[in-house]
Symmetry: D2
């Protein structure tokens, strides 16, 4: 199984199955899921705490560091998918709509190579 042959719905279903097998849906209210997502996002960030730009590059090529980052990113995504499951939100729709809205706000020509206009 890889990103090429897995639909968002299939990956969401794997997360849902894990939750259902433990009868954990009772804990999965949107507030506590958002709290958990925040905690996991901070654990992901911890992988890069204090690292200077060149150390970030070195870590990006280190197999052990990459495995830790993949594990923390997975935790973030599991809670993100759990929140989408709990609220019955379509992820593809939400992401594509946000990209469209951001595309209007940050037009490709005005923001070419920069993310602030005052630079």
């Amino acid at each position: 199984m890889s990103d090429n042959d897995t639909t968002i719905a299939e990956l969401r279903a794997s997360v849902q199955r894990f939750v259902d097998e433990r009868d954990w849906a009772q804990f999965h209210n949107p507030k506590d899921l958002s709290v958990s997502l925040c905690i996991e996002a901070a654990e992901l960030l911890e992988e890069f705490q204090w690292l200077r730009p060149e150390e970030v590059e070195t870590a990006s090529r280190d197999l052990q560091a990459r495995a830790r980052v993949a594990g923390e990113l997975a935790d973030v995504l599991i809670y993100a998918f759990s929140l989408a499951n709990a609220l019955d939100l379509d992820i593809a729709t939400a992401v594509l709509e946000k990209l469209a809205a951001s595309g209007r706000r940050y037009s490709a020509d005005r923001y070419q190579g920069r993310f602030r206009l005052d630079e």
Copy 2:
């Protein structure tokens, strides 16, 4: 387009296209992406700040609140996908491996309906 007919790879490609059209890959190092993911996770959490359990339920059924949550969740996912893109990590593999590891740690029978053994 919906979660049923969109692969993870397709959604990642949409995010990559948005980044490439603006020549923003130069900013997308793993540390700054993790910082941004953390900031967006906190903005998602802000939707539920101070809400009591019953108010969380009400918000979960409110169309405007749901749209705001979907928008903030999309921001989280866009940075999560950007990080996977920047590091060339397979999301389906990472999530399924993490679910398998968590499944061994939290066996379905011992953790049925609870997430701590001392309860």
Copy 3:
């Protein structure tokens, strides 16, 4: 030493001494300190992860839970004081100015017992 007989400046000096003794000021740029503060804030939040309101109350009276919370809150404050030290910001001034500004925004009579007007 207690909050009654310790000035903000004295507590900031204790943190500065700890940093100086290890020659760690070189790492204490405002961005990495803010990253660290965010990570510690999430670790503090982790103490209350998944807890329902009545469980939060129980934890608030539990000596071991209180000691863990005090330890995590200390980590948050150590980075907050480190940031004030690194940027030479006066904490008392910043806090009192913010309270004054918030006091104008949230007048005591209109926001009596509520933090949103639409409630």
Copy 4:
């Protein structure tokens, strides 16, 4: 009023007065305060989002950027003090005990100029 002539207890009392004048203590349970602290820590971090080390230095000398950082740091501290107030925790004690424990863990000679031993 400045950090030199303000005790921790006095600054905590100013925060408590602000809360009491609005009858907001009812909302100030430790979980929601930790959630709020996390959100404010992320807003502080947002001031440095995407900034390269040299841009962080420039921002550190910019008067407007410094004022924004002071304002966000104040928000973090107001919630940290509110949590200490809600749980009746002594901040000076917690910080000094944590510095002592960290001092034993990170001895000044072994960790001189570095925060990891494997470097």
